[in-house]
């Protein structure tokens, strides 16, 4: 028998036992240590205007996702400005016994918006979104106010 291999196997299984116990026994402050703050999990990067289109972008941290149906954008300025519903890419479909069918996004996300012809180009937006961590924690709906960067000039 290879003594070294035996020692390695025993050591690995000893650690496995401890790891199993760790998973079954809750830490006193379980879960909060590793969860990102919402602004780090779902980084709202920018709202940019190019021509007649607005692009709102997010950088979603690995292990986190946004819900398609929870994304909304509203124009706040100038007065009377409006935006149409955001155009979003196809997301990943998930099924849940409580929430039914939903689309989610990982990684980078960009929403494209247009505004009615008679409306002034939006300069400030209210962007709302909601998402969760794959680890099984969900964040309350987030709302941020963001100025539009005009790339047309």
């Amino acid at each position: 028998m290879n003594t070294g291999a035996l020692g390695l196997a025993v050591g690995a299984t000893l650690l496995s036992g401890m790891a199993a116990a760790d998973g079954l026994w809750p830490h006193k402050d379980a879960g909060s240590r590793d969860l990102l703050k919402a602004d780090d999990a779902f980084r709202l990067l920018a709202a940019e205007r190019e021509g007649r289109a607005l692009k709102v972008s997010w950088d979603i941290a690995p292990g986190y996702y946004l819900y398609r149906k929870r994304i909304s954008v509203e124009a706040l300025a100038p007065e009377g400005a409006r935006v149409d519903a955001p155009e979003l890419p196809r997301g990943e479909r998930i099924e849940d016994e409580y929430q039914g069918s939903a689309e989610i996004y990982h990684g980078s996300l960009q929403a494209v918006l247009h505004w009615p012809g008679a409306s002034a180009a939006p300069q400030r937006l209210r962007v709302s979104y909601q998402g969760c961590a794959e680890a099984g924690v969900c964040y309350p709906p987030q709302t941020r106010l963001i100025d539009v960067i005009d790339l047309s000039h």
């Binding site: 028998m1 036992g17 401890m18 116990a21 760790d22 402050d29 909060s32 969900c138 309350p140």
Partner: protein, 177 residues
């Protein structure tokens, strides 16, 4: 063949030893816990204001949840089971909802919630959760409060059924024989 058998036995003993050592090391008397902050006020779906102090004397599990929170909805049936199983021994679960009251009312029945559901504006609830140690504001978020008003456990994310049972059993008086 005999060598392989010896290795397998040695590994099984090692797994058990590792598991047992970990449980021993973490079964020490509770480390210093902290008092529940005073004055945390909620509304109830019953229309009355509530403070967590009104459940002093019970082992109180405060579970923050929302109807849009899938892990919360997965966890609640287990909480309902625990409330039913351990109420007579002094467990009281309360469920502050970080959500619109109408949405909460619509889910209360289908989920079979058998404990008080509390409410408040989302901003107020997030503020309360931050005071209770949930800086990121994620859900589900639970705290376990001893009968004398000390926070003895926090949990961000779902409990597994095994974790929940072990936690409650560890803090309730032993069942009468």
């Amino acid at each position: 063949m005999r060598s392989i058998l010896l290795i397998v036995v040695a590994c099984l003993i090692a797994v058990a030893a590792g598991y047992g050592f970990y449980r021993y090391a973490h079964h020490a008397p509770a480390v210093a816990s902290e008092p529940l902050p005073a004055g945390l006020q909620f509304s109830g779906l019953d229309g009355h204001p509530h403070h967590l102090e009104e459940w002093r004397g019970k082992l109180l599990l405060v579970n923050f949840w929302a109807t849009w929170c899938t892990p919360c909805l997965h966890e609640i049936p287990q909480l309902v089971k625990m409330q039913k199983q351990y109420a007579a021994r002094g467990l009281q679960i309360v469920g502050p909802a970080v959500d619109d009251e109408d949405a909460v009312r619509s889910m209360q029945g289908p989920l079979g919630i058998n404990y008080p559901v509390l409410s408040g504006t989302p901003d107020a609830m997030i503020d309360i959760m931050e005071k209770l140690g949930n800086g990121p504001g994620g859900l589900p978020f639970s705290i376990l409060v001893s009968p004398d008003g000390q926070i003895v456990q926090r949990q961000l994310g779902e409990f597994t059924p095994a974790q929940l049972t072990q936690l409650i059993e560890a803090h309730l008086p032993a069942a009468a024989s």
